[in-house]
Symmetry: D2
Subunit: 128 residues, 4 copies
Amino acid sequence: MKVSTEIEIRFADLDAYGHVNNAVYFTFLETARVKLFREDFAEIMATGLKFLVVEANCRYLQPIGLNDLLVIDVESQNPGRSSFILNYSLHNGEGKIYAEARTVMVCFDSSRGKTVRVPEQMRLALEG
Amino acid sequence: MKVSTEIEIRFADLDAYGHVNNAVYFTFLETARVKLFREDFAEIMATGLKFLVVEANCRYLQPIGLNDLLVIDVESQNPGRSSFILNYSLHNGEGKIYAEARTVMVCFDSSRGKTVRVPEQMRLALEG
Amino acid sequence: MKVSTEIEIRFADLDAYGHVNNAVYFTFLETARVKLFREDFAEIMATGLKFLVVEANCRYLQPIGLNDLLVIDVESQNPGRSSFILNYSLHNGEGKIYAEARTVMVCFDSSRGKTVRVPEQMRLALEG
Amino acid sequence: MKVSTEIEIRFADLDAYGHVNNAVYFTFLETARVKLFREDFAEIMATGLKFLVVEANCRYLQPIGLNDLLVIDVESQNPGRSSFILNYSLHNGEGKIYAEARTVMVCFDSSRGKTVRVPEQMRLALEG
């Protein structure tokens, strides 16, 4: 799976240095991820399945300013039985890369209160 | 001046109650305001003029969820010599009003470190 | 009821102007309110009762910087049958007032999905 | 250098899942880092030197709730000529570890607009 989405930068995303704060990049990753999951995995999520981040990583290459265009490419990698990896590229749509990031995700069944295997239908979609 | 803009809701805007947190509405107002000011008052802002909120008010009518469409209408009111009022309507574009808000703004000259009169060109635009 | 609490300012609370962002003041109000409610109304909240903001107002008097001490006094006013008002003073503990704010609150019963009357025990505490 | 600080959790730090949102952990790291740097490197920072995050990583082990006590230990590692690493442990002060994190930092001279070597005095303090 490889999908792309645009994120609108808010004045509140900037910190006192005048650029997007480093923690906000992870909010951007989540915004992109949730938007895509809602489109592709709406049925699965309706069953009460949540996706939790168990590890997150970001390498900051170029600062992001208020007037910058921000596109996030999300690509899934090696979905396993109980977890999957998402790789993110944050860029301006014209070759300038702001950051590269990665989250390791697990599936959590809220009704049973525990992590569960990645549903087969989802694993296939992530592999595709 | 009466302008309109759409705001994209992020998962991070929700609080533990599952709806957009009450403080985030003010971030939405700011996002709408900054977007519109950048378009209409870019030249004025380039001179180092900032717009500060001296009073803010919001009446919450309906909760906003992650999947809701959010449009903000911003309308200026009675621009004075040293301050102006912005009225906001937060709605779904189809008649459902989420909230009504208001901010009182002043102009602040960063180079001189003090509030200044609303520039004439801006006052006229706000009146229009 | 009149209570007081200190809020620790975070670097992330500042915006690109280098002071606490105007929306974050409402997060501060909430932080103070939740802290106090957890102490005083823990039993009531354990029944599933939530407190929702239906109107919020803030007047900004002095900017707040990263190194400033911030104390919030919360005082209840005129608890009615179905709503109550909280008044807030944000100050530095030594007479410098940063802001004055107010929220109108209602009680919401999550199990029944609707607003309910202020519990008598709570109304008395708020009046005290 | 190994230092420790407590972070006060806010209701707004929770997301719709009822626990501290994964992006907010990075705000916590920043809050701890800034607090410690202000104490130890105030003179250096007064010269206009900023500390930028060029890489950040977090492993989430246990969810953090509103009522949890949160302590962050920050330990510096291998300060190099142009960068240094900070390792963080987020725990409850009684052996329960919520998360382990790491940031790679560089020094940025705002007056010259470029990254610079870690000041010798600071490198020694970080090594200590």
